[in-house]
C-alpha cells in the first residue's frame, strides 16, 4: 500500500514537472530567438503598438520590436547604454532630449523624409535633419472644467494666472515626472523673458519669478496629467496648464464638462522620432523605412487610431491630413510658439532641480 501511494505521488510530481516545463518552453524559446540585427523602437507614444504592428504587417522580412515606456525610463536606458546602444529609433514627445542626443553625436543626420510638411511641421525640423516631427500637441493648454468656471471667466494672458481672483484654482504637473512639463516651463521662460538669442539667464529668471508668483497664488502640483485632471474632477482646482491631448481625452471619456482653451502663446510639443547613428547600416536603413512609413498615410492612420482617447488626439504636421477627432479645433486657431530645443534642452536638469527645491518642496 505504502509503495503504491509513493508511486502515485511520484507520478503526480513527474506529471507536474513535465507540464510546468512545457508551459515554460514559449518563454525560454522566445528569449533565445533574438539573433542578428533587429530594429528596436524605444517609444512613449500611446499609439506605438498599433503603429509597429501595422508596419510589421506590411513590411515582411525585418521585424521591428518595441520598448514601450514613459519618456523618463527610456532616456535613462539610452544614457546608461551609452556607446553600446540597443535602441534603433527613439519616438517621444518633445524635441529637447533629441537636441541633447544630437549634440552628443548619437543621432543619424539627414533623416527627414520627403513629405508634405505644413508650417508647424517645418518649424520643428532641425537644420541638420537629425529628427522628424510626426504629430503635434500643445503643452500649457488651459484645461478647465466648464461646470466650475465659464470661458468668459478664464484668464486671457499668462500674467493673469497669478491674479488674486484665481488663487488656489490652478494646477500643473511636476517636470521631473511629466515629460511635456519641462517644454512648458522652457516655453514660458522663453516667452516671459523675451528670449531671442544669447544668454538665457534673464529668461530663466523671468520664468522662475512667474512660477514663484504662481506658487504664492496657491498653485497645486501633481505628478502627471492623471492626478492633475483628477484634482479638477474632484473640484480641488478649476483649471490646469497641461498637455492638450490629456484634456481632450478626458472630455471625450470621463468628464464631458472639461474644455481646452489656449493662452497666447501655447507651446508646441511635437511628437518626435530620431534614428540611432551608432547602429549598423542595415538597421539604420530599416529605421529610415520605419520613419518614412510613419509620415505616410498608412502610418498617420495607425497613429490616429491606436489610442483614440489619448495620444491619438494630435494635430498632423502634414498638409492634407486632418485630426482624428473633431474635438480638436483647427490648428490655425491655436496661438502656437516653438522653442529652440538646442538652447533649452541643456538646461532641463538645472531648471527641474530648481522647480523641485523651490516650487514643489519649497
Amino acid at each position: 500500500m505504502q509503495i503504491t501511494h509513493t508511486m502515485k505521488r511520484a507520478t503526480l510530481v513527474g506529471a507536474l514537472l513535465a507540464a510546468t516545463s512545457a508551459w515554460l518552453v514559449p518563454a525560454v524559446s522566445s528569449a533565445g530567438a533574438a539573433t542578428g540585427p533587429t530594429l528596436v523602437v524605444y517609444s512613449a507614444q500611446g499609439y506605438d503598438k498599433a503603429a509597429v504592428a501595422a508596419f510589421n504587417a506590411t513590411h515582411p522580412g525585418f521585424s521591428v520590436t518595441l520598448n514601450d515606456n514613459s519618456t523618463g525610463p527610456l532616456l535613462q536606458q539610452i544614457q546608461a547604454e551609452g556607446h553600446n546602444p540597443k535602441w534603433g529609433v527613439l519616438w517621444v514627445d518633445g524635441a529637447t532630449a533629441f537636441a541633447a542626443l544630437d549634440r552628443q553625436g548619437y543621432l543619424a543626420k539627414g533623416i527627414v523624409p520627403k513629405a508634405n510638411f505644413n508650417a508647424v511641421g517645418k518649424a520643428n525640423i532641425p537644420a541638420d535633419g537629425s529628427y522628424v516631427p510626426t504629430g503635434l500637441t500643445a503643452t500649457g493648454a488651459l484645461v478647465y472644467d466648464s461646470a466650475q468656471i465659464s470661458a468668459a471667466q478664464l484668464p486671457k494672458t499668462w500674467a493673469q494666472l497669478t491674479a488674486a481672483k484665481y488663487k488656489g484654482m490652478v494646477g500643473m504637473n511636476d517636470p521631473t515626472q511629466s515629460g511635456p512639463t519641462y517644454p512648458l516651463i522652457a516655453g514660458l521662460m522663453n516667452y516671459l523673458g523675451h528670449y531671442s538669442k544669447g544668454s538665457t539667464a534673464a529668461a530663466v529668471k523671468a520664468g522662475e519669478a512667474f512660477l514663484t508668483k504662481l506658487k504664492a497664488n496657491g498653485l497645486v502640483i501633481n505628478a502627471t496629467n492623471g492626478p492633475t485632471i483628477g484634482a479638477i474632477q474632484s473640484h480641488t482646482i478649476k483649471m490646469a496648464i497641461i498637455q492638450s491631448s490629456a484634456g481632450y481625452g478626458q472630455e471625450l471619456t470621463t468628464l464631458p464638462s472639461l474644455r481646452v482653451a489656449y493662452l497666447n502663446p501655447a507651446i508646441a510639443l511635437p511628437g518626435v522620432v530620431g534614428i540611432d547613428g551608432l547602429m549598423p547600416k542595415t538597421v539604420r536603413a530599416e529605421a529610415q523605412k520605419f520613419v518614412n512609413w510613419l509620415l505616410s498615410p498608412a502610418g498617420q492612420h495607425a497613429m490616429q487610431t491606436g489610442d483614440p482617447q489619448g495620444d491619438s488626439l494630435f494635430w498632423p504636421v502634414l498638409n492634407g491630413e486632418k485630426p482624428a477627432n473633431k474635438v480638436l479645433p483647427p490648428l490655425s486657431s491655436v496661438p502656437m510658439m516653438t522653442i529652440n530645443p538646442y538652447v533649452w534642452g541643456p538646461l532641463e536638469n538645472t531648471v527641474n532641480t530648481w522647480f523641485t527645491n523651490n516650487i514643489n518642496n519649497g
Binding site: R9, L12, V13, T20, W23, L24, P26, A27, S30, A31, A34, T38, V40, V41, G46, Y47, K49, A50, V52, A53, T65, L66, N67, D68, N69, S70, G72, P73, L75, Q76, Q79, A80, G82, H83, N84, K86, T96, A97, A100, T176, Q177, N222, A223, G226, I229, G230, Q233, S234, T236, G249, T254, G306, D307, P308, G310, D311, E348, N349, T356, N361
Partner: protein, 586 residues
Amino acid sequence: MTTVEVAEAPSRRLRVPWSGGVLWVILGLLIVAPVLSFLLLATSPRLFGQGRELFTLRYVSQALSGVTGQGVFNSLWVSLVVAVTSVTMATTLAWLIQRTNIYGRRLWPMLMWLLFLVPTWMMTLSWVDVLQPYGSASALGLSTRWLYGEFLGPFGIIVVLTIASLPFAYFVVSAGLLGLGSEYEDAARIHGAGRAGTLRTVLPMVAPALLSAFAISFAETMSDFGVPFTLAYHSHFPMATYTLFASISNYPANFSVAAVIALVLILTTIPPIVLQARVTRRRSYAIISGRAREVRRREFSRLARVVVSASVALVFVIGLGVPIAGAVLGSFMRNLGIFSSGPLHLSSVYYHQVFAPSIVGKGLSAPLLLSNQIALVAATATAALAFVFARRLMSRSAGWSQRLTDVLLVGSVAVPGVVLGVGYVFFYNLSFITNHVINLYKTLPLLVLALVATSLPGQTRFLAGPVSQIQPSLSEAARVHGAPRWRAWRTTTLPLISRVMLWGWLLTFAKTIAELPISQILYPPSQEPLSVTIQAYLGNFQLGTGTAMTVVGLVEIFGVIFVALGLYRVVTPRGWQRIGWSGVGA
C-alpha cells in the same frame, strides 16, 4: 577510526572553499557587480561614460544638501520609527496568536500572508481611492476629508510602511516563538520570576529573530519606493528613494547623485546587521529538536478575548480590508473622485477594457501569461538559492566570508529596484561583456536574473530564522543510522522547511508579478510584463482601466496561491504538513 578521520579532514577543507567560491560567483554576478557598477558613479562618473571626472566628491555634497539631503534624513527617521513599531507590533501579535486563546488563530496568519503580498503602492493608492474627496468612502456616505488630510503626511506614511513591514517581522518573530516551548517560561516562573522577569528571561532567547526583524524592517523601509513615490510625494515629504528616482528621471540623468543616495541607503543598514550578527554568533539559539514540547496558551476572559481579537482584526482591516475593498469598488465606479451630488455610478466598463482595451494592442492576456512564466522561474530559483545562503549565514562556524555575505545580503535589501535595474544595464551592456562573454541585455534571462537578485536577500533572511532553529543532531542521527547525505536531508531537513519554502516561493512569485522598476528597465522589446502594462494605463490618465487590471492581477495571484497550497496538500506526505514552521496554522 583514526584512519577515517585523517581521510575525511582534507576533503572537507577542499570542499568548503569550492562551494563558497561558487556562491560568491553567483552573488557577484547577481548583485555585487551590477550594484557596484552603479555605486562607482558616485565618485567616478567617467568610468561608465557619464561625465568627465575620474574622481570627484562634488556629488556627495550635492546629494546630501537641499531636498535630496532632506530626503535622506526623512527616510532615516521614518525607517527607524517604522522598524521599532513594526517589531513591537509583530511581537505582540505573534504572542497573542500563538500563546493565547484569541479568536481566529488560524485566520490571522493566513491574512498576514496576504498582507505580505500586497505591494505598498497598491495599498497607498487604494487608501487614496477610499479617502479622497468623492472617493469610495464618500460614495458610501462617509465623510473622510479630515482623515484624508492626516493620511497625506508623515502619519499616513508611517502607518502604511509599518503595516507593510509587519508581515516579515511577524513571521520572523513567530518562528522564534514557535520553537520556544513553555518549559522556558515555566522554568523562569519556578525560579520566582514575575511577569516582567519571565519576559526578560524569554525575550533574549528570541533575540536573533527580533534583531533580524528589526534589520529587515529598517532596510525594507529605507528601500521602499511605493510609498515615497505616491503618498510621500503628494504630501511634499521627500524621501530618499524618490529623490534618487527624481535625480535620474531628467535628461541628462544625474546618475552620480543617485549613486551617492544609494550608497547612503546601503550603509545605513550595516549597524543593525552587525548588531544582529554579534548577538547571534555569541551563543546557540537552536531550540527546535526532536524533543520540542507543546506550548500552553494563556486563557483570556470572554470580554478580554473579544476586545483583543477585535484589535487584531483592526490591523487587518487597515492593511488589507480597506485597500482591497477600495480597489475593487474603485474599479467599478465610473465617478470615482469626480465631484458629484448624485448616487454611486457603478459600471463594469473598465473590466471590459482589461481584455478589449481602448489602446490598440495593450490588452492584459499576453503580459499576464508572460509574467506568470517569469515569476515561476524566478521564484523557484530564488527559493533554491535562498535556502543555500540561509544555511551559510546561520552556520555557527562562520568565517569572514559568511559575515561579508550577511552584510551584502542585508545591504542589498536596501538597494532600490531602479538602482539594480540601471546597474544591470551598466554591467551587462558593457562592450566587453556583450562581445566576449555573454550578450544577455534586453533578454528574458537577464530580466529573470535581476528579479532573482532583488528577491534573494529578503528571502534568505526570511529562511534564516527557520533554518537556524533546526538542530544538526536531526540529520546527524540519520547519517549515523546509515542514510546517505541526500536521504538524510530529504527525511529530516526538508520536511521541517517544506512549508516555509512553499510560502517563501509564493511570496517571491507574487512580488515578482507586481515588480515594476526593474521590469520597466530590463524587459525585452515587445515582451511586456504585467506591471509595465498596468503602469502604462495608470500613467496615461486611464485610472479606471489600470485599477481594474490591478484587481485582475491580484485575483490571479491569489488563485495561484490557492492552487499551489492545494497541490502541496496532495503531493506531500501528511507528516510534512504538520511539522515545521510556516507561520500558518500555529
